[in-house]
Structures are given as structure tokens and as C-alpha cells.
């Protein structure tokens, strides 16, 4: 009896899960994510026009500015509100990466600066860096070998 509950748990609770409004969520994610990217384009054009950046390097200040804004919004508590509304629309842009770091750092503030903020900062963002570096390394090796023989 207990065994069957254990095995059928996923089916049993399925009825009680809220049904996600997939279409509505996608529209929200599209609009918010799109707005963030359009704002990024504004920043890109601004840095291209006023500072000594090329098309290749302009990504750096654009991303840094977005990260600064997102970190401040996280500190003020507004990014969570946007995140609840937009879902992936706020998580997929680079701002979501900054939000995950700032919110993890804030959450563990009570445990101190070293053991709280510094230790837990990469709690969520670490996965992005780990998988980014590992996949870039693997693809890099493959391409390097490929380039050698071609």
C-alpha cells in the first residue's frame, strides 16, 4: 500500500498541481525578455556612439551596465516582482545571471560577509559558469583538433 503511493506519487499529485497557462506565460516572457534586449540595443548604440568601442568589444560594457541595473533592482526587491511576472523572460537575459548572484548573496547576509555573502554568491550562478566553461572547453578542443587537420 505504502509502496504504491510511493510509486504513483507523481500521478496522484498531478491533479493538485496548478496548470501553467503556457501560452500566457510565453507572451509575458516574450515581451519582458524582448524589452530587456531592446534596452540592451539602446545601450550598445550609446557605447558605440560615445566611447571607443568596436562592434566586437561593445558587448562587455553593455552586459556590465545591465548587470549593475539588475543588481540594484534585486537589492531594492523589484527584480523578484518582475521575475514572478515574466518567468523565463527575466531569467534568460544576462540580468537573470546577475539577479541569481545578488539574491543569493543577500539571502545569506545574516551569516556574515565571508561565510555568508562571499561563500554563497555563486550558489545558483555557479552552474552557469561550470557548464559554460566545461562545454566551451570540450567544443574548443574539438574545434582545435578539427582546425589542425583541415
Amino acid at each position: 500500500m505504502t509502496n504504491s503511493i510511493k510509486h504513483n506519487y507523481k500521478d496522484k499529485v498531478k491533479d493538485f498541481h496548478p496548470n501553467p497557462h503556457i501560452f500566457k506565460n510565453c507572451i509575458k516572457a516574450f515581451v519582458v525578455g524582448g524589452l530587456i534586449c531592446a534596452f540592451g540595443q539602446v545601450l550598445t548604440n550609446f557605447y558605440l556612439a560615445n566611447f571607443n568601442f568596436t562592434e566586437e568589444t561593445v558587448g562587455n560594457p553593455t552586459v556590465a551596465t545591465l548587470i549593475l541595473i539588475s543588481a540594484i533592482l534585486t537589492g531594492l526587491g523589484y527584480y523578484d516582482i518582475i521575475g514572478q511576472f515574466a518567468g523565463a523572460g527575466s531569467a534568460v537575459p544576462v540580468t537573470g545571471f546577475a539577479n541569481s548572484m545578488a539574491s543569493a548573496a543577500l539571502e545569506y547576509k545574516s551569516e556574515g560577509i565571508v561565510l555568508g555573502i562571499a561563500t554563497n554568491m555563486f550558489k545558483l550562478a555557479g552552474s552557469v559558469i561550470v557548464f559554460g566553461v566545461v562545454s566551451a572547453y570540450v567544443v574548443g578542443i574539438i574545434r582545435y583538433i578539427f582546425n589542425m587537420f583541415m
Partner: protein, 116 residues
Amino acid sequence: MEYLIAFVTGGLICIVGQLLLDILKFTPAHVMATFVIIGSILDGFGIYDKFIEFAGAGATVPITSFGHSLLHGAMAEAEKHGFIGIGMGMFKLTSGGISAAIVFAFFVALIFKPKG
């Protein structure tokens, strides 16, 4: 016009992320990790550069560009120093974003009080 292209492409990438969240029940961390891997693989085939040329910030702002620039820095350095260069150049292009994220997150955590 380029604002519209950035809006639409960035939005479409977010829709893919939302579908992963809703249908495959990914967590946001899984979505971000998946997108970074996709970005580096696309750059491995040389596709992502053309995508950035077309979409501008619509391609550089989503997290996929992180994987792209990791690989890009690695390959640029690998041309100069050979095999070891892959590790040396890995963070060359993304260091601006990562150091900004660390510094700003640190100061935000110092200044603000946690809410909720």
C-alpha cells in the same frame, strides 16, 4: 529597426526558456545552464557570430552569449599558444561581465537588507 529585431529575437529566446520551464519542468538554473551550453555549441559551428550580426543585442544580452564568448576567447588564444591557449583565453572576453557581477552583487549585498 534594429531595436525591433533585438526585441523579437531576444523575446523568442525567452519563449524557448519559458517552454522549458513549463513543459519540461526545468528550474531556472537548469534553463540557464542549458542555454550556456547551447551558446557554446552554436559558436563551435560558427553560427552564433552570424546571429549576433543579425540580431545585435537580441543575441548578446541572453545568457547564450556567455557560452559564445567563453569559446570565442578560448579559440582566439588557442591560435596563438596552441592547445594550452584554450584554458588561457577562456575568460578573456567575459571577464567584464563576470567581474561586474561579482563586484555589484557584493556591494548590493552589503548595502541592502534582504526582503521577504
